[in-house]
Symmetry: C2
Subunit: 391 residues, 2 copies
């Protein structure tokens, strides 16, 4: 195991009606003038925004609002939010929504206290300072409610890039599983896929002897496999929603990814797809993951056989572990299809003739120097071949 520092000081208030405590937690973390950032109209229509505002009112906390955060959140709204924070002397940023809204709020919180262009953070500068952030989560997916990460799409060129740093860990996150019960089935399935991708990308490591974190990742995947179909079958299943929501946070707060190399190839390849075609991130991952894993299989057959056996219950083929490994990838893809996810390029709206552009951008875009991948180092030719597997 490699040396590491793990510091995840986010308070999680979990369960029914917890959004009514938002004001209490903003106060606990010394917020007095809040920017409430949210997405489309659903948090308005559902009455959630009103409940959050009422709880701020109860604590005598003033606020301004900025709606309009979109899936694959854009830089334009971030600039708008930064300006609003400065003008209104905001001292706390509260995201009410899913991962996209939270990521947008994080970018605003960093930009508001930074002299330069906030995009610097998305080109690799560590986020050491930001306004304090709180979240009221409405979908189990991105894990941004407990992570130090944010992903934004730059509209000038449609680049999608991530930023990271300790100041991006929310002070508090409110996780009420009931709020996710009204999600469309497709979005729920996209969230499940994203959570599973966060686990797979940590599982694919070159670090030896990491049994504790291996087992934790397997545990969270097993929980997703148990709960995913239940919530697709019955969207009102609060208990299944609750298990998914707690798993989703832990899949990405890095408690199960510490001290080991990780692989973010699937995310990197997906980000090019959702940046260009504006497809849902989870749907993109469902198409990308089996292709990446199939391409990388021979790098460490036993690792793929291990996850196939332990997580997917495949019988270990001791004479040909590769068979087990391949079966595990097939089982993953079958599972994702069973919850309604796509499995090929076409269903994402992606085009064969863009593959060269996608691969070029993945390997050379935004300061990259030709290779990606923490598990297997992949060059542009590799990436082209992986995209072709998705056709």
């Amino acid at each position: 195991m490699e040396n590491f520092v793990f510091y995840a000081p986010t308070l999680f208030a979990f369960g029914k009606d917890t959004e009514n405590d938002t004001g209490k937690y903003v106060k606990q973390f010394a917020g007095s003038k809040v920017l409430i950032h949210y997405g489309s109209g659903s948090v308005v229509r559902s009455g959630l925004l009103d409940r959050v505002k009422a709880s701020l009112d109860n604590e005598g906390i003033s606020y301004v609002e900025l709606g309009g955060a979109m899936p694959n959140p854009r830089s334009g709204l971030v600039y708008e939010g930064i300006e609003l924070c400065r003008k209104e002397k905001v001292d706390f940023v509260l995201a009410v929504g899913g991962g996209s809204t939270i990521d947008s709020a994080k970018a605003i919180a960093a930009g508001a206290v930074y002299d330069g262009d906030f995009w610097d953070f998305y080109e690799g500068k560590c986020v050491e300072k930001a306004l304090p952030i709180g979240t009221v989560l409405t979908i189990a997916a991105a894990g941004s409610e407990g992570s130090p990460d944010s992903v934004i799409t730059k509209e000038d060129g449609m680049f999608k890039r991530g930023a990271s740093g300790p100041a991006f860990r929310p002070r508090f996150s409110i996780l009420n599983p009931a709020l996710t019960q009204t999600l469309p089935e497709y979005q729920t399935a996209c969230g499940i896929t994203d959570i599973m991708a966060h686990l797979y990308e940590r599982y694919l490591t070159n670090t030896q002897e990491v049994e504790t974190t291996d087992r934790m990742i397997e545990a969270l995947l097993l929980a997703m496999i148990h709960e995913g179909p239940r919530v697709i079958e019955n969207p009102d299943n609060y208990e299944a929603r609750a298990n998914i929501m707690w798993a989703g946070m832990q899949a990405h707060n890095n408690s199960c990814g510490v001290g080991r190399s990780q692989d973010w190839t699937s995310h990197d390849l997906e980000h090019e797809l959702s940046a260009l075609y504006d497809c849902a991130h989870g749907a993109g991952l469902a198409v990308v993951m089996p292709a990446v894993f199939t391409y990388n299989l021979k790098h460490d057959v036993n690792r793929f056989a291990k996850i196939a056996h332990r997580v997917w219950g495949c019988q270990m083929d001791f004479e040909c572990p590769e068979r087990t490994a391949i079966e595990g990838i097939e089982r993953l893809q079958d599972f994702l299809i069973s919850i309604g996810m796509p499995y090929d390029f076409e269903s994402l709206g992606a085009k064969k003739e863009d593959i060269d552009t996608l691969a070029q951008q993945a390997c050379y875009g935004n300061g990259r120097t030709g290779t990606i991948g923490g598990f297997v180092s992949l060059n542009k030719e590799d990436v082209v071949n992986i995209y072709k597997l998705m056709l």
Copy 2:
């Protein structure tokens, strides 16, 4: 799943040589005058204390020292530490040692800023305020490095009781697995047993539909079963030590125990044994656990069968799940014996004729009103019967 709040804002610096960063972290958390609290001479003899002091010196942080913390730490030393903190205007308490030293340091940290008797906290008062605490851990066992808990033995009557509260979460904990390589085999095995007990006590729940935390508990137990024998066979196995150390923290920081009822019967019954006979806590748990589980088996046969199947690899007997459940308890006991733990009253130095006293104290001691147990409610007669199973 029940509603819960989870807030575990401890920074973990994990890996080789991390004790040399102690001063840096004390400074990060605003300590300027430190009480270094430690146990017996081993941290002195090994040179660890000198390395910690050198790192404080490097940051210009002054300190006073208090050694002498013992296994089953005593109230007498706590009073001494409190007085020292007040006299020397200490603003940070640093524990260098195992769970006993850390628990003692926590009691000192709470008492130093409290007007009344620190024992009030061990009679149920929540610890809301304490001097900030840091730890340099030397044994993977109690999980106190990441927990809000502390257990102290009151010398006046030899009561062993726990206290809890947010202020007991350390600001930082330094986890260098190499520091545990010099532990005697027996102590290492006691630590493994304690970690497994923290997992079992959370697993035994009456809350339905907690698959995510069930799976996490199982994962950490599986990791212990994998790594425990390796470290007993080769005490210098750094990687096995590292996996155990990270599992040990997570077994007790409650990330896998949230939103579910828990059972602390085994700990309660063990505390009476170690209070009276001063046996090692882990050794006591090894004797207590199989007895408690056997006695409680019929309360929820399927839960015991589930852990037997998933953790111990027992074949599920679908015609008689009780057989599987019993086999799981036997497998646990066999495992504990295999790493050198005792299995009966006598080997703890415990006496049959004390059973009535032990049961009386467990059920009525220190403010209790006749029953204990979060899984099965047990009265004195039950507890007598359980102790008898250990003969």
